[in-house]
């Protein structure tokens, strides 16, 4: 860090006497790079909002999503994204995102924490019980072999694979009230 690092010196000795550009630059400015260029990996994705299906590129650095932007290769979107699609990174990295299981006891006024495994066990028990409770072998004399003990309503941001397993498991359990945003 000699006197060369003092911009005034650079003004006096360089091509930028008025100090408008070259002489005024900081070392941080000189080192600026697009963070997308420094990503560890770039992953192909699809926008999760509407059904246009815009292509996205997800940039990951140190196992964190550092940028999501349009995929120019997509013949649908040509790299463009709407405000919602452009907010995808905030969707994924939102500080208000709830990432822990929460449990609310009947008649409670607050949430409490719950272990994921335990929650899964409790839910499995409840599904089995509700299935039994709502089981109908027949309905108005006709065989139905079904349960109306539990119902399911899915969003339409579910993957096809997820919908497939949901429909498969629920149907095998005999549930019929299996619905989706697609009805709405």
């Amino acid at each position: 860090m000699g006197i060369e690092s003092w911009p005034v010196f650079r003004q006096l000795t360089g091509t930028d006497p008025l100090g408008r550009g070259r002489a005024a630059r900081s070392s941080r400015t000189d080192a600026l790079r697009a963070r997308t260029e420094q990503a560890d990996r770039v992953v192909d994705s699809i926008c999760p909002y509407c059904a246009v299906g815009c292509g996205q590129k997800v940039y990951v650095k140190d196992e964190k999503v550092v940028q999501i932007e349009g995929d120019p290769g997509s013949p649908i979107s040509r790299g463009r994204l709407c405000p919602k699609g452009s907010a995808s990174k905030q969707l994924v990295t939102s500080p208000t995102r709830q990432t822990k299981v929460l449990y609310r006891r009947p008649y409670a006024t607050e949430w409490e924490p719950l272990d994921l495994d335990e929650a899964m066990d409790m839910i499995a028990d409840r599904v089995i019980a509700a299935r039994r409770e709502g089981w109908q072998d027949t309905f108005e004399d006709k065989p139905v072999r079904r349960t109306i003990g539990f119902a399911s309503l899915g969003g339409a941001t579910l993957d096809n694979e997820e919908n497939y397993l949901i429909k498969k498991l629920w149907t095998a359990l005999g549930a019929i009230q299996i619905e989706n945003q697609a009805r709405i």
Partner: protein, 278 residues
């Protein structure tokens, strides 16, 4: 250096000390194809990690960010216009939308008044704030004839559009231009953009859209031409843009003359006071 403060300046980067600089880059925002989706606003914030600008309904049509500022570097204006009408006769409604942005002036007052060199001209002839240098003197805020740059009070520094300096340095498009669904925001070498804009203007005029006009494209204007210019469908002030801005530093030599004169007058006044009796 000729025209260093005012008037056409063919090589802006060179004026700021760059030799062998790349072509000047800029934005052409064609508001005739803007659909007001605000993707530019969000894409800008995501890339530049600009904080939100508060949550208040303004009542200004669908514009709830209000204006460019320290935390809004792209701003979409919404203007509703209707000729008088009666029930059953819809009248003629127009909904103008325009994405505003820093103009990256040829003669950038913000840059020239900045005392610390935080605001610099880049090799692309764009104007950026170096956040590691800015000390928040806020001179740039008052100097900008477009009311673009502002100081973020909780942060203390001045902020504005960087034309995604970090991206364009790596050969990428600025975030807003990349996201723009209808290509209302176009990025590229300024000369190319100007040509494209003139062609678009001619086409619109041929279609009968006679109110179309370019704004900020003329290098003979008060800021020596803007690096980010627009195609508008009404007078600039309707969109919140000044109709004929002039860079304040055009008058800087005259200002110093008057200040020097005033200093002499002050010194003379003091001297005068010492004449005569004790």
């Amino acid at each position: 250096m000729s025209n260093s403060l005012y008037g056409p300046l063919p090589d802006v980067a060179e004026d700021a000390g760059y030799t062998g600089a790349p072509e000047r880059r800029g934005f052409f925002t064609d508001t005739s194809v803007c659909i007001g989706c605000k993707a530019c606003e969000v894409a800008c914030k995501e890339w530049n990690a600009v904080p939100d600008d508060g949550f208040a309904l303004t009542g200004m049509s669908y514009d709830n960010t209000g204006a460019l500022g320290a935390s809004t570097w792209r701003h979409v204006a919404f203007v509703e216009q209707t000729r008088p009408r009666q029930v059953g006769d819809g009248g003629d409604t127009r909904w103008l939308m325009a994405s505003d942005v820093c103009k990256h002036c040829t003669h950038a007052a913000c840059l020239d008044v900045c005392p610390t060199g935080a605001l610099i001209r880049t090799e692309f002839a764009t104007v950026v704030v170096q956040s590691d240098v800015c000390n928040g003197c806020a001179y740039c805020v008052s100097a900008c004839p477009y009311g673009v740059i502002d100081r973020r009070e909780d942060d203390g520094r001045a902020w504005k559009c960087t034309l995604c300096y970090d991206r364009i340095g790596d050969g990428l498009e600025p975030a807003c231009a990349k996201a723009c669904p209808t290509d209302s925001i176009q990025y590229g070498p300024l000369d190319e953009l100007r040509e494209r804009a003139r062609a678009r203007l001619d086409a619109l005029h041929e279609e009968g859209v006679t109110e179309a006009r370019l704004y900020g494209e003329d290098e003979n204007d008060g800021v020596g031409g803007a690096g980010a210019f627009f195609l508008l469908l009404d007078e600039p002030e309707v969109y919140g843009l000044p109709p004929d801005p002039v860079v304040t530093t055009r008058d800087l030599p005259a200002m110093w003359k008057w200040a020097g004169g005033a200093a002499l007058a002050l010194a003379g006044g003091v001297a005068l006071s010492f004449l005569g009796r004790r």
